[in-house]
Symmetry: C2
Subunit: 199 residues, 2 copies
């Protein structure tokens, strides 16, 4: 199952092939591929180079730690993400060691997870990020210290057969991908003024 972006302008193949499936093959992810997608996250850019992201990870063949990650998902996400071979939770250090807030911590964690997802796609995997999880519960379950917040859950694996999903999810899995056109979010001079570069 592959679902490349129907892009208006040419984009790199790996970026185009990144998408967020809910059906995953019942196939473990090779350790070297896990290391590669984590390594890609590592090399993201960050404000003042502080690298505010971290990850909790577990594979399905580590049932105890995998179950802890499943436990913090909302029931809807549990229904499909528990079938992925790898689960992660991204974390952001939003307050540094001196008690100073880092207003770019969430932004930079988003960049790291985007690089993780693109590297996953480059390896034939896909990563599906979820905001649907209990952040307060995650804070307890994973003993997150002060100043570290749970940001997003991530399911990673090989995209599987949409037929394995319940009907309403199968429909979404097979639906065409879409995005706002550039003219709705690229401005010049002031907000809302469509850039001449995109018309």
């Amino acid at each position: 199952m592959s679902k490349p972006a129907p892009s208006t302008y040419p984009i790199n193949e790996v970026i185009a092939h990144r998408w967020s499936p809910r059906a995953f093959l019942d196939k473990p992810v090779e350790k070297e591929k896990i290391l590669s997608f984590l390594e890609a996250a590592r090399w993201a850019a960050s404000s003042y180079g502080v690298q505010p992201w971290s990850y909790i990870i577990a594979t399905k063949d580590d049932p105890e730690n995998f179950a802890k990650l499943v436990s913090v998902l909302v029931p809807f996400n549990q229904s499909w993400a528990a079938n992925a071979p790898v689960l992660l939770l991204s974390l952001a250090q939003t307050v540094n060691a001196e008690g100073k807030p880092n207003s770019h911590a969430l932004h930079d964690t988003g960049a790291a997870s985007a690089q993780l997802s693109i590297q996953a796609a480059a390896l034939g995997l896909q990563a599906h990020q979820m905001s649907g999880f209990d952040a307060a519960e995650a804070k307890k379950v994973f003993a997150l210290p002060e100043g570290v917040e749970a940001v997003a859950a991530i399911a990673v694996g090989y995209a599987g057969d949409p037929e394995t999903l319940p009907d309403f999810l199968k429909e979404r899995e097979l639906a065409e991908r879409g995005r706002k056109p550039l003219s709705e979010f690229v401005f010049t001079g002031k907000y809302g003024e469509v850039s001449p570069l995109v018309v």
Copy 2:
């Protein structure tokens, strides 16, 4: 000038080649390349698919709008970024039309700008993001509506000759790239417990 990440585990070449230079060639960026890196941002993942990011963009051959972007940078960033052929400001819609906060808006904007940066690298360009700008001033200059916040300034162009930079910046431009090892930010079971997958 190229500065690939000295990665511990193999990563996609385009991700490895993305870095944040301060020296740019005095060479405009082709319009089709601008469209491609904006298109790559467009296809980022977002919570509930709301695509909370937008961009203000200007090229150097549009002096009035380019100067507006330069004007919101802190003086240190003005000193080098004003030489880039393209400047952008990423924006996040942190409050939706119904007045509901989107706690993932910054995160997802970070993902979009990461895709923008990787696509830039794929085209032989580089994007350098900056948190050093005046967000309150940007809000006025670009007439950002309630609920839309300026997130990061971005300089884009062809990486240039480090010799064109003042000495202290030349040193940084030529310094080796580095990141925390995976063992410092990839955990299993609880925060701080190094994952067996990365040792």
